[in-house]
């Protein structure tokens, strides 16, 4: 399937292509309406509510700014999401590179290894990591058994456990866009670079890596945004310092029922995410161009 995407369009197809393209445009109408009704409209209501519940004004934002845990939690959330994204990129890049050079059943097996974990819910995988990391868990027992440790290390709750758990869950979302991008890179360009005298390292740095940037952009954006909303994994594996914004929002929305504050927290998170996305896209180049290449 991925291979086919690479082949050129035969001349006979070209004639009908413009009408197909126009049809495609109309096909976007239904999803656009769907998004407007079930995504844009509710978000507008959330934003409005943040200014109007319990009364019109900025009181909810004043509370967030007035100290308390809110800004700190927001910062911790962004920090955790950024670390997870960086770790995912570091791990996923070589995996995607190797996978992009595989074919046939090897590729299928590798793809299955990436995709199958997605079939299990994040809750269950977080509990599974608890079993691994706990005091009398597999990891501690193995390290003690091998004589590496005398006494059990306290992994839970902690930074190490929460990062392992989150990276494990997010990895496929980094590998897949990278893979799609890398399979589309024309390898003869690398050969050309080498003919021109570049050693493999330089060829990679100057040719391959820049060409893979659209995949990197897509993967980073996807993983970062999803990590910002993480809820259950930091709650189960993380320590107090991993209190995530989603946890605070849930407390306000579901337990205290202060929807004004919940809405304003959600709005701040949305604005911060949007702003970071814009900055990020400016830094890494033209957003639409990159995404076109990646997807």
């Amino acid at each position: 399937m991925l291979k086919g995407a690479n082949t050129g369009t035969p001349a006979t197809m070209r004639k009908v292509s413009w009408s197909v393209a126009r049809l495609y445009r109309w096909m976007l109408l239904a999803p656009a309406l769907f998004l407007a009704a079930f995504f844009v409209f509710p978000i507008i209501r959330v934003v409005l509510r943040s200014f109007s519940d319990p009364a019109w004004g900025l009181q909810n934002y004043e509370r967030i700014m007035a100290g308390g845990p809110y800004l700190q939690v927001l910062l911790a959330t962004i920090q955790t999401a950024a670390t997870v994204t960086a770790l995912c990129l570091l791990l996923a890049y070589p995996v995607a590179y190797v996978m992009s050079r595989l074919s046939g059943s090897l590729l299928q097996i590798a793809a299955a290894c990436v995709i199958i974990p997605l079939w299990t819910s994040a809750v269950i995988r977080s509990y599974a990591w608890m079993v691994v990391f706990q005091r009398k868990g597999i990891l501690n027992e193995a390290l003690i058994g091998a004589g590496v440790l005398d006494d059990a290390i306290r992994f839970l709750p902690g930074s190490f456990a929460v990062h392992v758990g989150m990276v494990h869950i997010m990895l496929p979302f980094m590998i897949l866009p990278l893979l799609a991008n890398m399979r589309a890179i024309d390898r003869s360009l690398l050969r050309a670079a080498e003919i021109m005298g570049a050693n493999p390292l330089v060829a990679f740095a100057k040719v391959y890596f820049p060409l893979s940037m659209p995949g990197v952009s897509a993967g980073v954006a996807l993983v970062f945004m999803m990590s910002l909303g993480f809820f259950i994994t930091p709650a189960l594996l993380g320590g107090p310092q991993h209190l995530m914004a989603a946890v605070l929002i849930e407390q306000q929305a579901n337990v205290i029922l202060d929807w004004g504050l919940a809405s304003s927290l959600a709005t701040v998170l949305l604005v911060v995410t949007g702003a970071m996305y814009v900055v990020y896209m400016r830094l890494t180049g033209n957003a639409t161009g990159n995404l076109k290449g990646a997807l």
Binding site: P69, Q72, A235, L243, N254
Partner: protein, 347 residues
Amino acid sequence: MKNKTAGSLTRREALAMMGAVSLVPWLDATPAQAASQLVFASGGGKLEETYKKTVFSAFKEKTSNDIVTTANEGAKLKAMVEQGQVEWDMMQGPAEQLIVFGRQGLFEPIDYTNIDKANLLPGAANEFFALTDVAAYNIGWNTANLKGPAPQNWAEVWAYDGRIGLWKKPFQTLEVALLADGVAIADLYPLDIERAFKSLDKIKSKIVWWERGAQGAQVFLDGEVDVGAIWNGRVHQPKLDGAPVDFNFNQAIFVNDAWAVPKGAPHKKEAMELLALALSPEQQAAFARELPYGPVNRAALALLDDKVKATLPSSDENFKKGRLLDLEFWADNSQAALEKFNSWLIG
């Protein structure tokens, strides 16, 4: 239901049969009344299972009304009431939450005409909800990990050299922090929140926070923690099954499940009947036999034998060891305490 013969029936015959079947409960019930289906929002798990086994089945027998269950999310309750499209007839939840919801005007006033209020625990018959059971947030320990004697009070839990498991919420946890710091149980409320955090500061590096009940039980069973606080119902059965866990009710904070009828519930009258049934001595006793959450109706205790009573937080013997959580205090202070608690956690 009768798949094999259904194909050979004519439509008219089938309709006639269905009509006849639907008449059966009519013939049975003395006051002629159409059976309805009540929606009960609960936290699920063992609690819901026990409701089904005891109160719900008795309700079905008595009134022929069915009860279906759904998840008791506060956000959903608020959205339904705001939009005037309420699907739930009854909601179960922790009392310290329902009192907050009640103050926001999300519940119908409870009709106590068929309920014997005199026998209920003081404070059980609230305007917008009724307490239905008594659980305990109590001292627990892992018997395999424990070095030395079992802790007999919260000060000994705090002093324990090891890992201490606590619920990652201010409710109940601030109470035991104050008890550990030497506050007399009679003077607990209003909570001195600053002092409670100072008490938690002393053991900050020893605390292993648990977020959910099932997880809390697991950290005790697996020996992830040595001592700490846990709800009695979560470790009762594992202890009987031989897991290395034990607990006592010394200085326990007694907490309650409560039931409330959402504002604009479609079957308000039936819901009030269901509540009256759930609070009857017979049903309270039946519930307590299944799950060690004690009755709020004192008359139920007379129906229980000593073996069961020993497991219940609200038996005369156990109830004097601890103290009931002050709902009014938490209704006034939840938001502020939660904010401070979150700041403390991350600070």
